[in-house]
C-alpha cells in the first residue's frame, strides 16, 4: 500500500499533444501539400535549429506564459477561475514602468523594487475579485472581466497623463533605462542573440515555491480544502473568506510580477497606449489547463507552448501564416479536455492485473489481527 506516482495526467497530456500535432499536420497538408513536411519539421525543430538563440527565445517567450499559467493554475487549485490575468499583468507592467522610469535613486535595487511594486499592484488587482467574492458573493469571473477593462483604461490614462512615463512621439511608455532592467545573468552571452533574461529563473522559482506551498504547507492545505469544499473548510475552522482573498491575491501577484518582468526585460517592450487588452492573461489559461494546474506541470506546458510558438514564428519562412500555431495549440488544449477519458482507459489498463478490493481488505485485516492490538482511545483525561 504505497503511494504510487500518478502518471495518468502526464500520459493524457501527451496524447493530447500528439493528437493536436497530427491534426495540425493534416491542416498543413490541406493548405499547402508541397511545403507541409518541411513546414511541420520547422514547427517541431525550428527553435533547436536556431541554436542557442532559438532556445533562448523559447525561454524568453515561456517566461510570461509560465507565470500567467501559474496564476491561473493556482487559482484553479483553490476553486477559483482567474480570467483577470490580463488586467493584473497590465497593472504589473505599469508598476514596473513607474518605478523603472522614476526611481533612479534606488540604484542597483531599482529593478528589485520595481518588480516588488509590480507584484503589489498585481496582487491588489487580484485581491479585488477575491474580496468581492468572499464578502459580497460576486462571481469572480465577471469581476475579473470588468477589472481587465478598468485596468486597461486606468493604465492608459495614467501613462498618458504622466510626462515622466509617456513618450508622445510613439504613444507608448518611455524606454526603461538599462540600469533599471532586470539582470541578464549572462544569458545574453550564453543564448547569444536572444532576449532571454533572469525572468525565466524567477518564473521557475515561482513555480517551485507555489508547488511547495500547495503540496507541503498547511497554508496550501487550507487553500485547496476551500477550493474543494467551502462548507467543510468552515466546519474545520478554516477561514474560507480569507483563503479566497489570499488565493486571488497571490494569483494576481504572479501575473503582476509577469507584467513587471516583461516590461523590465530590456527587450524594448513598452506599455502601448491603445485600448486593447493584452493577451498574456488569456494565454495563461491555456498553459494552466495543459499543465493540469500543477505548478511543475505548468513549467513544462509553458515551455512547450513557447516552443511551438517559436516554431510558428519560423514557419513564416514558408507560405503559411503563423495562425496555424494557434490552431494547433487550440486543438491540443481541446484534446487535453479529454484527460478524463484517457485516464479512465489507462486505469482500466493498469488495473487489469490488480487484486479485487475484498482481497486487499482481507490482507489488511489479517495484518491487523496479527500485529497491532486495539489501542485505547486517546481522550483527554479530566
Amino acid at each position: 500500500m504505497k503511494k504510487s506516482f500518478d502518471f495518468a495526467p502526464f500520459i493524457s497530456s501527451l496524447v493530447a499533444i500528439i493528437c493536436g500535432l497530427v491534426i495540425g499536420f493534416i491542416i498543413l497538408l490541406v493548405a499547402n501539400t508541397k511545403e507541409a513536411v518541411p513546414g511541420f519539421v520547422t514547427i517541431l525543430t525550428g527553435s533547436v535549429a536556431h541554436g542557442m538563440k532559438g532556445i533562448g527565445q523559447v525561454l524568453y517567450y515561456a517566461t510570461p506564459l509560465i507565470l500567467c499559467g501559474l496564476s491561473v493554475g493556482f487559482a484553479f487549485k483553490t476553486g477559483l477561475f482567474n480570467i483577470g490575468g490580463s488586467g493584473q499583468f497590465l497593472m504589473g507592467s505599469f508598476g514596473g514602468v513607474l518605478i523603472g522610469l522614476t526611481c533612479k535613486s534606488l540604484g542597483p535595487m531599482q529593478w528589485v523594487v520595481a518588480l516588488l511594486f509590480a507584484t503589489l499592484l498585481g496582487a491588489l488587482w487580484g485581491a479585488i475579485p477575491g474580496i468581492l467574492k468572499a464578502y459580497f458573493n460576486v462571481n469572480e469571473v465577471i469581476t475579473c472581466i470588468m477589472l481587465n477593462y478598468i485596468a486597461l483604461f486606468w493604465v492608459n490614462m495614467t501613462v498618458k497623463g504622466n510626462t515622466a512615463l509617456f513618450n508622445t512621439l510613439r504613444n507608448e511608455s518611455k524606454d526603461i533605462p538599462a540600469a533599471a532592467t532586470i539582470p541578464k545573468l549572462d544569458f545574453d552571452k550564453f543564448f547569444a542573440g536572444s532576449s532571454v533574461n533572469s525572468g525565466i529563473v524567477i518564473a521557475i522559482i515561482a513555480a517551485i515555491v507555489l508547488y511547495i506551498v500547495l503540496e507541503k504547507t498547511t497554508f496550501g492545505y487550507e487553500l485547496k480544502a476551500c477550493g474543494f469544499n467551502k462548507v467543510a473548510s468552515k466546519y474545520a475552522g478554516i477561514n474560507e473568506n480569507r483563503s479566497i482573498v489570499l488565493s486571488m491575491l497571490i494569483a494576481g501577484a504572479i501575473c503582476g510580477l509577469a507584467g513587471g518582468i516583461m516590461l523590465l526585460s530590456g527587450t524594448g517592450r513598452h506599455i502601448e497606449v491603445k485600448d486593447v487588452i493584452p493577451n498574456e492573461g488569456f494565454n495563461g489559461i491555456s498553459v494552466a489547463l495543459l499543465g493540469i494546474s500543477n505548478p511543475i506541470g505548468i513549467i513544462f506546458s509553458g515551455l512547450f507552448i513557447a516552443y511551438l510558438t517559436a516554431g510558428g514564428f519560423y514557419l513564416q519562412l514558408f507560405h503559411f501564416s503563423k495562425e496555424i500555431i494557434d490552431i494547433i495549440i487550440a486543438i491540443i488544449i481541446y484534446f487535453s479536455a479529454f484527460a478524463l477519458i484517457i485516464k479512465m482507459m489507462l486505469t482500466k489498463f493498469a488495473n487489469r492485473n490488480q487484486k479485487p478490493e475484498y482481497e486487499v481488505i482481507k490482507e489488511q485485516k489479517a495484518r491487523k489481527d496479527a500485529g497491532i492490538a486495539f489501542k485505547d482511545l486517546k481522550v483527554k483525561e479530566e
Binding site: 467543510a232 466546519y235 475552522g237 489488511q364
Partner: protein, 513 residues
Amino acid sequence: MEEYAIEMRNITLSFKRKIANDDVTLKLRKGEVHALLGENGAGKSTLMSVLFGLYKADSGDIYVNGKKEIIDGPVTANKLGIGMVHQHFKLVHNFTILENIILGIEETKGGIIQLADARKRVVELCKKYSFDLDPDAKIEDITVGMQQRTEILKMLFRNNNIMIFDEPTAVLTPQEIEEFMIMVKNLKAEGKSILFISHKLDEIKQVADRCTILRRGKRIDTVDVDKVSKEELSEMMVGRKVSLKVDKSEAKPKNVILEVKNLVVAGERGHKDKVRNVSFDVRSGEIVCIAGIDGNGQSELIKGITGIKPIKSGTISLDGEDFTSKSIRYKNTHGFSHIPEDRHRDGLILDYNMANNMVFQQYFEKEFSNSGFLKTKDIIEYTQKKIDDYDIRSLNGPYSMTRDMSGGNQQKIIVAREMSKPHKLMIAVQPTRGLDVGAIEYIHKEIVKLRDHGIGVLLVSFELEEVMNLADRILVMFEGEIVGEFKDVKNLDLNELGLYMAGGKRMNMKEVA
C-alpha cells in the same frame, strides 16, 4: 411455475475493481412487500439501480411479469410499471412539487405545458393517501418527509405497480415512519408489489413478507420474515452475532461542561428565528440527547453553538470559559469535537485522500506540521494507526481517495478523527445516519466509552431508537425551543415523548431549570 412481478436472475455488476453485485437472484412476488437487507455497501442500492435501468449489469437477466425485459433506462422502467424512491431523492430543488411530479411526462398543448389536469390528479392523490402537500410549494421549502411523499406521488401519478423504496425511513421522524408503514400496507392492499430496503430490522418485521439478505455483493438467503427473529436476520446480514441493545452503566455526571444560555439563531432572511431563546447545559460524563422532528431548529442550534452560523444573541461557555465569540478554530482546539450531520457536505473533503481528512482538525498542530510545513510522514503513520483502530476499509489505505470510499467507511474517518483529538465535549449530529447495524453498534459503543472517560456528549438524533439507547438525559426541541426535558430515560413513555416532539405538550422550562 409461479409468475413473479420481478425476477432478477444472476445479476452481476462491478465497478472497476469492486464487485457490487455477485450473481444475485431476487424474486418479487406479486402483491408482496419484499425487504432487502444488508450492510453498508452490500450492494442493495446497486441492485435496485439495475432494476430501474440506471446501471447496466455485466450479466444476468430481468423478467417483469414473466417476460424477459431489457431495462435500459428509467423510461423503460416506467413503461414496465416500475417506480423508485431513491436513497438520495431525485428532486429538483427549485421546482414545485407539481413540476417535479410531471417532469418527464408533461402534457402540452401547442407546445405549452398544461398543468391544470395534473394538479387535479395530484390533489386527488394527496387526498386519497392523506398527504398534506401543497402542489405549488417549492421543494427547497418543504421538509424531508414531504419530499419523500413527493417522490411517492411521482410513482402513484405514473401508476407504477412495482415500487422500490431505497432506505425510505432513514430520513423520517418516528411519526412519519409510522405513517409510512401504514401507507406501505395500504399500497400492498391495493395490489402493488413493493421492494423495500432498510437497515432497521423492526421495520422489516413490521411490513415485509419476505426478505432477501445481501452480504458483500452476494445473496445470502431469502427468508419469510415471520419465520426468523431479528437476531437471526442481523446475524445473516453481518455474518456474526451483534447485540442490538447498547449496554451501558448508569451515568455519573460531574461538573457542567457546556453551558448554553438564551441562544437565538436567526432564520433565512425574512423568516422567523430558527432557535429561540434556548438554554441548557451538558455535564461531563453524560450523554444529552436532543430529540425532535427534523427541521425544528436542531441543525441551527448546533451550528450556532459550534460557530458555523452566526448567533443573534445568547452566550455559550465551555468548562467555565466564555466561548460565545470565539472562532471555530479556537473552539475546535479548546475542547469541542463535532461529528457533523452531513458527512459529504460538512465533514470531509471528498477530493482529499483519507490521510488528509484524518488530520482535518489537527493538520496545523505541532504533531502534524512544522513551522507551516506538513509532516506528511507523520500524518500517514497516524492515519494508518487510525485505520487499524477503527477498522476503516478502503483500497489504498491512507492514500485512498475519500470520494471512492463507501459511506460507512467515510463516516468512520470522521468518527475516528473527532474521537481521537483531545476534547471535552463531543457534539454528534446523526452520527449513524444510513449506517448498517454493525457500524451503528460500533459507533454507539464508542460514544458510551467517551462518556465513561468523562467527556460530555451532546447528541442530536431523529431516530428514537438511538435516542432511547444512548441518552442519559433527553431534551425535546420543537419550533426552535426546548419544550421538554426527561431525566429518567429508562422509564420514559414513548407516546409521551412523541407528544412533546409534535408540539402537543410542553413543560415550563424555567421550572425544569
